[in-house]
């Protein structure tokens, strides 16, 4: 049931946990394509994908959200990410099937990292909403 104030989110799994992105930001769930790499120094970026003639950077956020022991990523969730004043497609590797869900945001507890923009309560599960652009701008130690 969709209540007043509910919004749609795409829930994506990373290992045992699920996280959410606003549905309006997500453009597709893609099967693993061949990741292409070249030298660079930006943390979290694993390389790029070529999707329908567009070059899409791949941001492996699992290392921040659940740590280095993340299981193999099976799909790419492709989302619009605001970078400075422009939108840019970004692929996020996820470990399983995604789900579209509608829910109202629960208030933050104040203990969440800055890249968590809100919380969803779905049944007994609390799902963190990821602010992709904040996560991508993090400096991750090598």
């Amino acid at each position: 049931m969709i209540g007043d104030g509910d919004k749609s989110y795409v829930l994506f799994p990373l290992g045992e946990k699920r996280f959410a992105l606003p549905a309006e930001a997500v453009t597709e769930l893609a099967r693993p394509d061949s990741l292409q790499t070249f030298p660079h120094c930006t943390p979290l970026l694993a390389g790029v994908l070529l999707r329908r003639g567009r070059i899409v950077p791949v941001c492996d956020i699992a290392q921040v959200l659940i740590g280095p022991g993340a299981p193999p990523r099976k799909f790419y969730l492709i989302a619009n990410c605001k970078s400075e004043s422009r939108q840019e497609l970004t692929a996020v590797p996820v470990t399983g099937e995604c789900e579209l869900a509608s829910a109202a945001r629960a208030p933050l507890t104040g203990k969440e990292p800055h890249y968590i923009s809100g919380l969803l309560t779905i049944g007994n599960e609390t799902v963190e909403i990821v602010a992709l652009e904040k996560l991508m701008s993090m400096e991750v130690p090598a």
Binding site: P39, H40, C41, T42, P57, R86, E88
Partner: protein, 129 residues
């Protein structure tokens, strides 16, 4: 690889660690940069020197593949935010493969070239005013 001389010039060698050799060609001294160090890659076994046009810079590379014409240059996605923004002019797609197109001016920037020229003149005993 013939004609390469190990680069040692006081403190400058330490400042620009990727500059490993010099090469004399037709009266010009080329400053040779190790591409693996420039791109922060593990050490490699270079077998070729690319001499760049219009700049006194050479680049040590493992090998050369082919010469090809690139018609479209894609901007480097903004998600790339670090040194690579200076390293590359953009990205090209060749037969489904994404290839970075190198910014040749980034191997040694203007300030580094000025320091090198001045250092070289000092060593050669040329008085500059």
């Amino acid at each position: 690889m013939e004609g390469l001389h190990a680069f040692t010039l006081g403190g400058i060698s330490a400042q620009i660690a990727k500059l490993t050799h010099t090469l004399e060609r037709s009266g010009t001294t080329y400053f040779v940069v190790d591409a693996a160090m420039h791109f922060q890659l593990p050490p490699s076994r270079p077998s070729r020197v690319l001499i760049l046009r219009n700049v006194p810079t050479g680049v040590l590379v493992d090998s050369t593949d082919r010469i090809m014409e690139i018609t479209t240059l894609h901007a480097l996605p903004r998600a790339f935010t670090h040194e690579e923004r200076g390293w590359y002019r953009g990205l090209a797609v060749v037969n489904g493969a994404v290839m970075p197109v190198v910014n040749h001016n980034a191997f040694l920037n203007k300030a580094e070239l000025e320091v090198l020229r001045a250092g070289l003149e000092r060593v050669r005993g040329v008085v500059t005013v």
